[in-house]
Amino acid sequence: MTIDAALQSEIFLTYVKIIGGLLVFAGLAIGMLRVAGKDVSSIMRTYRGWLIMIPIVIGVIFLGRTATIFGVAILAIFGFKEFARATGLYDDWWLTGIVYISIAAIAVVTFVADPRLGTPGWYGLFMALPVYVISAILLVPILRNRAKGQLRQVALAIVGFVYFGWMFSHLGFLTNTANAYGYLLFLILAVEVNDIAAFTFGKLFGKRKLCENISPNKTIAGSLGAIGVSLVMPWLLWFSFPHLQPWHLIMAGLIVGIGGQLGDLVISFIKRDIGIKDMGAVIEGHGGILDRVDSMIFVAPLFFHAGRWFLGLA
């Protein structure tokens, strides 16, 4: 992944066209709704958020592998920070600092070559890193000689690292695959479409609640609709990975459709347990970083390992 490679990659250029087209189309649709006299202020806020986020994401991928790995690490660090602030873990600067450094270490391990195989990305250490990080986190109460409240702090730090840091960082590790543009851009587009489909189907047909104690707005209709749309997406975007077999496409669709919604529900139950509505307010109309990347945290590692298992990527 380099700027030159991006300019020569049919896949990358096609995605720029698709996503650009979708943005223009959405803008026109909102304009038409407005002309029809509908209140579009809240959709408009969300749309403005997309107008800022999409060029940044495309731009980072365009810049290449280093920028993408760095970008994923930044998202992971600031996503974890939102979690730490919301739960109160952030008051503990030692544990928070260890997780920050560990997420940075994941980025480094993603970036360097495997010392034995010479392939990009040190896969073995990437997978083994949680062992060392969890050990380091568990050392903190011992070195401080403190017990009171430490299980809670340590548990929050481990969940924070493993889920928001390590699992999410699998997205960055996809940059080491031969078909990086295809996988990355497919995942980003498919996951966001899955989110939007769940919302839209829920609004149009939703009656029965999916998990009313976790997220009262989610409905079974929305969920099934999203899975349906996500099952279709890989076929529409088959050019992203022409070497995949049809049953691979079904699997990719299921991972995005089901995993995406599970990721959403995970952040929802965390927020509900804490008692907050949004994880932050970084992006206007979208909430915090975690409110935006919630689905990807679940999907990225499942997609990566499915690909590794069945296609031997990485």
Partner: protein, 240 residues
């Protein structure tokens, strides 16, 4: 099993700009790291470029909160004052800065809040409210407040009248007020110039003044302002 309790901060829904404008500030690791690095760079710059000389450092109290009061000749004053307090107190040192100037735009707010750790002081409409924020800050042990009682930078090099705010803040309290005088700031960076010139700076830190025995009255406030202005002027004569 007992339930865990979470204490999400009240500003969780605040945007980045709101976080910057917020006061008192929440502690952020990244901000602390940037500010510490900036403070070290600042010390180096002050020593090399301006050959800053600080006399009377021993007059800074080790414990408790205190107020530093200085003549206001240029933006360098604030930087010199920041460079004079011990590095470990840098995150608890708050220069009172005019909200209408230092918090007027986003870049200025970012610099004021992150690098300078400035306290947004409303010198136009909400003076009393700003003073009560200062008073609240000083109630916590170990905070340092930097105030320029003239309220604005001098345009001719002469020290102006001390405004009543500092008097109202300390009258009848046991707070230590430390008069300081900076020599050379006006020559180095006069109001209106874009960049400072490499002139020598000399900061003299005086002995702490306390005004616990005075009653809260307009006369006492005036007396404090006059007393502090005299002290600063005296340090200025020593500095010349």
């Amino acid at each position: 099993m007992e339930e865990w309790e979470y204490h999400p901060p009240p500003d969780i829904d605040a945007t980045m700009v709101e976080h910057l404008r917020d006061f008192p500030r929440q502690p952020y690791m990244l901000v602390y790291a940037i500010r510490s690095a900036a403070a070290m760079l600042l010390r180096g710059w002050m020593r090399l470029y301006h050959r800053l000389e600080i006399a009377g450092r021993e007059n800074l109290p080790e414990h408790g909160s205190f107020i530093l009061v200085c003549n206001h000749t240029s933006h360098l004053d604030t930087l010199c004052m920041i460079a004079s307090v011990p590095l470990k107190k840098i995150h608890r040192t708050f220069p009172a800065a005019a909200a209408d100037y230092f918090f007027s735009s986003l870049p200025r707010t970012a610099v004021s809040a992150i690098l300078i750790n400035a306290l947004p002081f409303d010198r136009k409409v909400k003076g009393a409210q700003s003073l009560s924020i200062c008073a609240e800050l000083l109630k916590n042990e170990g905070n340092v407040l930097i105030i320029f009682p003239e309220g604005t930078r001098t345009t001719n090099g002469e020290m102006g009248r001390f405004r009543s705010g500092i008097g109202r803040l300390v009258v009848g309290t046991d707070l230590a007020v430390i008069p300081c005088h900076l020599q050379g700031g006006f020559e180095a960076w006069p109001k209106g110039k874009l960049l400072p010139r490499p002139r020598k700076l000399r900061l003299r830190i005086g002995q702490a003044r306390r005004y616990a025995n005075l009653d809260k009255s307009a006369a006492a406030v005036n007396e404090i302002c006059q007393d502090l202005r005299d002290r600063v002027a005296e340090l200025g004569r020593l500095n010349a």
